[in-house]
Amino acid sequence: MTNQTVSPPLLPWENKPLTKGFSRWRRHLPAYLFVFPYVLVMLAFGLGPGLYALLISFADFSTGVPIYFAAGFKNYLAVFNDFRFSFTLGNITEFLVISVPLGIAMVVVLAILLQMRPGRLTTALRTLYFISGAVTGPVLVLVAIFMLDPSISPFQALLKGMGFELLNDVIYSDTLPVLFTLLGFFSGAGLWIAIQYGALEAIPKELLEAATIDGCNAWQKVLHIKIPLIRPYIIYQFILIFAGNVQLFVEPQILGGGNNLGVGGNVPMVWSPNQLAYNFAFEMGNFGAASALSLMLLVVGLGAAYLIIRWTGFFNIKT
């Protein structure tokens, strides 16, 4: 028994050397709390269903109820061997080749033009571009049909003048990729114009002033200063637009969609890979093959994102 000083136990926030892990945990706690709701929702609606899809892509559905792990790679083979697989792959490739570069180019050009001449008119235009984005995909398709059907369109005279008499003259397999590009542009461009506009606004004024003093004209400023500086945002747009467009579904489904499901435009019942997945699940009852194809689409989207990130060094943090 020696004299012992009794002191209350130290509380975690009192300055006491703690274990390394714990202090780091404490330091990062607010960050974890902020991400928590996102992670929760992502697990419930993103990763969870994705893993479930992985599980049932190996299940056999020939009896109508899933028999787990009984199918092996049969569902994946069923997708590759389906007579519509190469058709839908060709369609989506054509659509991506047209829609992704065109969509990005139009958005960047519009954003640059808007930002060049700030004023009341451009603010109004910026809002106007944004408004069409408030209309969701299915509604937009109906609006498009209203515009493009020569028998009901407000631009009837124009359409008939161009030699279009019936909806079938306007909507058919050759015009579909362009049509879907336009639909995608009007629903999504407003948002991206706002983002790119914001990126352009963030370019330091001194930089542009210095360029002006050095004798740079507007064209050179755009090409050599503005576009390189908003490059990360363009890459970001590419990744998201590409991943979104690979999953094209609503537009062809409503425009064609088969018996009583759509508005009856001349669109093949299965035009995009995502529609093929839907067809596997709800026409043929093979949820396994539907999951297999959905996962393949996911891999395409992720793969493209990975390649672009590696190629451009998107995530490299500048020091």
């Binding site: 990763l47 599980l55 899933p66 026409e283």
Partner: protein, 453 residues
């Protein structure tokens, strides 16, 4: 840091996989068969009588069938509490059944649907309908017409509600004014088209623009574009003379301008009919309702005593006319129902009750009550002649092609027809396309397909 996060992600991933696997209803058991381990799903065997006469049932209907449901409830007030009607889009019916199969619950007990949809839920993956043979007496069953579409092998999966056989509709005052006689054969119909083209251009004798218009001409000719040889064999022979003659007829009329070029319900075609520019056209029984029979109808507007109804056209070489069908529905019962007695009683009542059928606009499939329907239709001021004898005769002329395979025919046929029109190709030249569109769909549905094109 990144590695640590990855570790957690894996943990969650593996956990959810395990949970997902455990949470599923059908129990997974492995068995050793011929030396190999095989996973089998065990469906729980019922341990007690699965039927309960007091179990409630759910009835899937469309808005037009609400009166039928209400009439049954009014006639059976003691069962009112057991019945629930849900209005659905029945084109989604096969897809919904697949989802219910996955969750092993939720099936409706009774569904109003065309035999083509019943066919689509009758395969192994859907496994939906109840065989009605043990539940409906032989006398009653023999009273129905058009039961081919409901018969699958030895089993009966639905009771026909109405028939949608085709007749020839014509504009009586216009025919009289032009001095034409109503054609009785397809050959006369073609001759009439030449006369109309020469003497009264701008008048029409039909339309060609989607899958239903294809059915209207090709099924009426007996063209084996989708002939079920047996439950698992589909014959597609587009070189058959019966296909070629139908194609030549449509081509001829498209060329001379008497065949319009949209589906039946486009705004353009409706305005042709409403402006009295349609001289005659084959159409299904219920179409008289579209010809201004209904106050709310936004389609064809015709005046009273104008609509003539003539027997379906026949090809001169054939013994008798063959009528296709455009719809014509039925009622089916789920094999998962807890109360088959009530479910079957319901579908039998709504298809056969004379009191309820008096005054409906659909042609009843149940023969003993067809004459009742006569009173309603014969006194309708819309018609120029008494249509009942024509409808009754046409009902006996249904083509066997009305029995559909287990996939949708209209979407692929529409594709072929519309693409042909868009590319300005003759109907005869799109016949191989029709085979190309239908054959692979049949194959993925497990049919043995016999194709000639």
């Amino acid at each position: 840091m990144f590695k640590q996060t990855l570790k957690y992600v894996w943990l969650v991933a593996v956990l959810s996989m395990v949970l997902a696997a455990c949470g599923q209803q059908p129990e997974v058991v492995t068995q050793v068969v011929e030396g190999k381990t095989v996973v089998v799903t065990v469906t729980p065997e019922p341990t007690e009588n699965p039927y309960d006469e007091n179990a409630p049932i759910t009835v899937w209907i469309d808005a037009d069938r609400q009166p039928a449901f209400d009439a049954y409830v009014a006639a059976h007030p003691e069962k009112a509490d057991l019945l629930e009607a849900v209005t659905v889009d029945r084109e989604q019916f096969p897809a919904k059944v697949l989802l219910f199969n996955n969750t092993n619950q939720g099936w409706p007990d009774v569904v109003f649907a065309e035999p083509r949809l019943v066919g689509r839920v009758a395969d192994d993956a859907h496994h939906f309908p109840l065989d009605l043979k043990p539940w409906v007496s032989e006398d009653v069953l023999s009273g129905y017409t058009g039961m081919d579409g409901c018969t699958f092998g030895d089993e009966i999966y639905c009771l026909r509600y109405d028939l949608a056989m085709f007749v020839l509709y014509y504009n009586k005052p216009l025919m009289d004014e032009f001095g034409y006689t109503v054609p009785t054969t397809w050959e006369e119909y073609q001759e009439l088209s030449d006369k109309v083209a020469a003497e009264h251009p701008g008048y029409y004798l039909g339309t060609w623009g989607d899958g239903w218009t294809f059915i209207s001409y090709f099924d009426a000719s007996g063209c084996p574009s989708h002939e079920l040889v047996d439950d698992n064999t589909l014959k597609i022979d587009m070189t058959d003379p019966r296909c070629v003659r139908a194609a030549k007829l449509v081509d001829h009329m498209l060329d001379n301008g008497t065949m319009f070029n949209t589906d039946y319900f486009s705004a353009e075609f409706a305005s042709v009919v409403s402006s009295d520019h349609l001289l005659a056209m084959p159409g299904p029984a219920w179409m008289f309702g579209v010809f201004g029979g209904n106050e709310d109808s936004s389609w064809y507007k015709t005046s009273d005593q104008q609509l003539g109804v003539a027997t379906p056209l026949k090809w001169a070489d054939d013994d008798k006319a063959m009528t296709p069908a455009m719809g014509g529905a039925a009622w089916t019962v789920s094999n998962h129902t807890k109360n088959p007695k009530l479910a079957v009683d319901f579908i039998q009542w709504v298809t056969t009750d004379p009191g309820f059928w008096e005054g409906t606009t659909n042609f009843p499939a149940y023969q003993p009550i067809q004459s009742l329907w006569q009173d309603a239709v014969s006194s309708n001021p819309l018609f120029a002649n008494d249509p009942f004898p024509v409808y009754q005769e046409a009902a006996t002329l249904m083509t066997p092609l009305d029995k559909w395979p287990r996939f949708d025919l209209i979407a692929p046929l529409s594709e072929a027809v519309k693409t042909g029109l868009q590319e300005d190709r003759s109907v005869e030249s799109i016949l191989p396309d029709v085979a190309d569109k239908l054959a692979p769909l049949a194959e993925v549905q497990g049919y043995q397909v016999d194709v000639t094109k």
